[in-house]
Symmetry: C2
């Protein structure tokens, strides 16, 4: 439990970045994506599949370059995806030693890490920019409340194959924590869309937990315990942000669908 | 060579569809995507990787449903990608027998086959809709002219590891054929943007050949000769449309970047 509390404290710099948003947030998203994609490829090397980190980093640089060069429209996103995916294919052209799966892991890094995280920036530049707090808040409160609820009340296993320690009680506690965060956020930020805040708390929490389970599924299937060891005992960056990777697009499209911002 | 000529004739129904465009074109793109993604997964089963065809087909249905429900904007494309990619992750949750690579092949089918091909529909509904002809034309003329030029003049190998029969002479012949098509198309369609048509012929041809090489690379690396055997002796649908899969986004973004249509 001590580990959990300390890893909670590690989130503080991230929260400070959310206060400033804009350029600091873009830099943070860029750097965390660069590290997380590296960790992902390192993890897959455990099953002898080799993502091309230079193509993935090149794609990341291109994404944020396009962001600052073409700030007023999102049409460049599908362009960027096509260019990055084709580059990933070219990465296995050179020699027979490059396997088909190598290109697929490069694509995974580009879409799952870089593209998903980028939705935070898309929220930030929209008219509901302050909702980047909801991306981080629903993820962190889900994670923390699920842990403590599970610790004290957990009885029924949630997903024994993927993540043996998770319980249904914990999952529900996570949803409650996320909704509480959303409502408190609405009060502090004076956002007058209360029913939507409750729903956004639920949606954020569900996707935070799916993000967590996805990272667990990949770790289990490629036979690693953690994606990295940046802070000893706390796993890598990807282990820390696996929930945010999913809440970012979830909150972005919730806002898009409901408010067409 | 007889094989080539006959397979050229098979393209005729596709050309008829290009005359009508609209709904017939959308149906053709949908059906060809459904078959091609099935063939892709069947190919990967050769290296014991199992894409989830139901998730891929579900994603395809969702894409064309969104197309007809939300026709006026393209923002739904990134939404669709996120939903489809997350669904692909969930596909490996159920049991230990599902491998990490299984999710990656499902994603490959969704982005490489379904998303790339969909760019034909995006061109069709734009103000330069007639350029769907250029997507098919540059691909077919590149393919045919590269084959004949290589057959008669080919000396220097282009990519011996991926596709031993291809020559540099053939590749250049493909570019010439593609440019000739583009220019003739411009004359017939009375499109008054001549320098762009030459450049589009070159770009289309380069991507047609990259598309061909990508399909060859995957086939070689997963150890199959053809993706299918729909028409005996002519391979599967995916073998026939591998060039168009790449010319579709190439021509779409060329038009976007140059004409902002």
């Amino acid at each position: 439990m001590k580990t959990r509390i300390i890893s909670g404290l590690i989130m503080i710099p991230l929260i400070l970045i959310l206060v400033f948003r804009g350029i600091p947030l873009a830099i943070a998203a860029f750097v965390l994506s660069a590290i997380a994609v590296y960790e992902l490829f390192k993890g897959f090397s455990n099953i002898k599949v080799t993502g091309n980190i230079f193509i993935a980093w090149g794609a990341l640089i291109l994404l944020y370059a396009l962001h600052f060069l073409v700030p007023e429209r999102h049409d460049y996103l599908t362009f960027w995806l096509v260019v990055s995916i084709i580059a990933s294919f070219l990465g296995i052209f050179r020699a027979d030693k490059h396997r088909a799966e190598d290109a697929l892991v490069t694509i995974l890094g580009i879409v799952y890490v870089e593209f998903f995280i980028y939705h935070i920036i898309m929220i930030d530049e929209g008219s509901y920019g302050i909702f980047v707090w909801v991306v981080a808040g629903t993820a962190i409160f889900t994670d923390t409340c699920a842990y403590f609820t599970g610790f004290f009340f957990g009885k029924h296993k949630l997903a024994p194959i993927l993540s043996p320690k998770k319980t249904i009680e914990g999952a529900l506690g996570g949803v409650v924590g996320s909704v509480l965060f959303s409502v408190i956020f609405a009060l502090i930020a004076k956002v007058d869309i209360f029913p939507h805040m409750v729903l956004m708390g639920v949606v954020g929490s569900i996707f935070a937990q799916l993000g967590d389970l996805t990272a667990s599924a990949f770790k289990r299937k490629i036979g690693i315990k953690d994606y990295g060891n940046l802070i000893p005992g706390h796993g890598g960056v990807l282990d820390r942000i696996d929930s945010i990777i999913f809440t970012a697009p979830a909150i972005y499209y919730y806002l898009q669908l409901v408010f067409q911002h």
